[in-house]
């Protein structure tokens, strides 16, 4: 049934990575991406790969999942490789020529670095969504972005919108299911006919869905008012995020790993 689809790609578990404070996880992911782009030598890149793989092992995420998230990247990688391989020119003689295009060592090096970066980038950010539930993610983002309140950025409102969206996705999916059945029982042909016919057949599904969504929104707003909702001012939270020893250890491990990756810059010659 449509109702059972999971939102995002959360893979529940109880590993140190799962238990890590979402704020630290978000910041560590951003840091990882930054250091990935600072690592231009072979050792740094290998360490980056090793780090993300180690985290997958610790988090006990099956590598099948990793493969699934990397698969959509293949066309992008092929495109990057072709582009870089043929259009980057080096100082020395070309390595070989294909028809009128010459391939240089620099081009090959650049390709390797780009492939590693793309793969690590996707693996790293996927790890964040695998090990953090959408609610924790929203919560972490809200708390991290709190300082933006100073410049009048509506942090609380954004987080509230995300929470409500997450809350209503299953409800609306279920409703879509019902409307589709209702329209089919009235003779709507949703799975046959030309492309334009099928698009037209969507209209009688979308219109009731929107009308109902607006009615729901209206009722939800009233219900929220009844519960004293008045925006983010003076609001407290049930769940306080507390820094635990697990958080401190994980942070320390990350800092050391990032430090080592960065330090390789000074000891090894860059590939590009």
């Amino acid at each position: 049934m449509l109702k059972d689809i999971t939102i995002g790609q959360h893979f529940p578990g109880n590993s140190p990575v799962h238990r890590l404070d979402p704020r630290i996880k978000i910041l560590a992911t951003i840091a990882y991406v930054v250091f990935l782009f600072l690592a231009t030598n072979a050792v740094g890149l290998v360490l980056s790969i090793a780090m993300v793989l180690a985290l997958y092992v610790v988090a006990q995420i099956p590598l099948k999942m990793l493969k699934k998230s990397l698969k959509p990247m293949i066309p992008i990688i092929i495109f990057t490789v072709i582009l870089n391989l043929f259009f980057i020119t080096g100082d020395g003689d070309p390595l070989f020529r294909v028809w009128k295009i010459s391939v240089y060592t620099e081009g090959i090096m650049f390709c390797i670095v780009m492939i590693v970066r793309i793969l690590c980038l996707i693996s790293g950010t996927s790890l964040l969504t695998y090990t953090t539930s959408p609610i924790q993610l929203t919560d972490g983002l809200e708390r991290l972005m709190k300082p933006l309140n100073v410049v009048k950025f509506p942090v609380h409102e954004m987080a509230m919108m995300m929470t409500i969206a997450l809350r209503f996705i299953p409800t609306l999916i279920e409703e879509t299911d019902k409307i589709i059945s209702a329209q089919k029982s009235r003779g709507a042909m949703l799975d046959s006919g030309s492309f334009t016919d099928r698009v037209k057949a969507l209209v009688p599904i979308l219109i009731p869905l929107f009308i109902s969504a607006f009615r729901r929104a209206d009722e939800l707003a009233t219900a929220m008012e009844c519960r004293c909702y008045h925006g983010g001012a003076n609001r407290t939270r049930l769940k306080q995020l507390k820094i635990t020893s697990n958080d401190i250890i994980c942070t320390a491990v990350c800092v050391v790993a990032f430090g080592v990756i960065f330090a390789t810059r000074f000891f090894f010659t860059p590939l590009i």
């Binding site: 609610i135 929470t163 409500i164 997450l166 299953p170 939800l220 009844c226 519960r227 004293c228 049930l238």
Partner: protein, 275 residues
């Protein structure tokens, strides 16, 4: 005490007034059922009790505070909780306990106190065992009890329920009604229950009947339902128990339509059949 005096309200200029001079009081500790046909203004009246709607003319007072007093708005909403028909459209958070905590978070209650109060509220409504679940995995009746828990976590003195059982199956309906009754009897919360189910109304201390934006009749369930013809003329039903007595009465048998509980009715029929 909630007290509405000569309350007048219309949604728009052109249309007929939805409330046309309503007088209504709810004393502390009462269990009141509000009856009336579709569109007679029950929901509109309910929304006046916690300042979701404000009177055009007349006043609504909650424990001495006028609903038009801006500075008392949140005090009023904390005192008068409100539950609606569709549980799906009242649940805000993606986890049951977070939803129950929503009102308290808005009120700025300390986290440790929130924890204590929501656990208590979830115990009272019997949803504690679902506290870590996602709302969309619960049945309608369970969701409605979560919504009630979210309200009583505010520790209101009054709870207004607008057809809370209309979308539920008999089992869900029974459990929700049991919860409502226990809130009233055991915890002393004043209950104002809007309903189309006469068997629910029969359990109230007092029934208020509305028609065309006015309160037309008030009394105990016995007083109201024994006047079968009057109730029917307002396009409402009487409980089946009164109906039996009424129909037998039409055939010339002398039975009391005041026997509205099933036990009373059964006893009366037993006596009648024995001769």
């Amino acid at each position: 005490m909630i007290k509405a005096t000569n309350l007048l309200f219309g949604y728009s200029e052109e249309r007929e007034k939805a409330l046309n001079g309503v007088n209504f009081t709810a004393e502390k500790g009462e269990f009141i059922a509000v009856l009336g046909s579709n569109g007679c203004g029950k929901s509109t009246l309910a929304k006046h009790f916690n300042a979701i709607l404000l009177p055009e003319e007349g006043t609504v007072e909650v424990e001495g505070m006028l609903t038009t007093q801006d500075d008392r708005l949140f005090d009023i909403r904390q005192k008068v909780g409100m539950v609606f028909q569709n549980p799906d459209n009242q649940i805000v958070a993606t986890i049951v306990e977070e939803d129950v905590a929503f009102a308290l978070e808005n009120m700025g209650v300390e986290p440790s106190e929130i924890r204590r109060r929501i656990d208590e509220a979830m115990e009272k409504t019997g949803v504690y065992k679902f506290k870590d679940k996602a709302p969309h995995h619960l049945s309608g009746g369970q969701k409605q009890r979560v919504a009630i828990a979210g309200i009583i976590a505010m520790r209101p003195d009054y709870i207004v329920l607008d057809e809370p059982t209309a979308m539920l199956d008999p089992e869900g309906r029974r459990k929700v009604l049991k919860t409502i009754k226990s809130l009233n009897k055991e915890y002393g919360i004043t209950v104002i229950l809007i309903t189309h189910y006469m068997d629910e109304a029969a359990q109230a201390d007092r029934i208020v009947v509305m028609s065309k934006g006015k309160v037309v009749k008030e009394g105990t369930p016995k007083e109201i339902f024994s006047q079968v013809e009057l109730v029917k003329s307002l396009s409402l039903d009487v409980p089946q128990t009164s109906e039996i007595a009424y129909e037998l009465g039409k055939l010339g048998h002398n039975l009391s339509t005041e026997a509205i509980s099933i036990d009373e009715c059964a006893q009366q029929l037993y006596n009648f059949l024995k001769g």
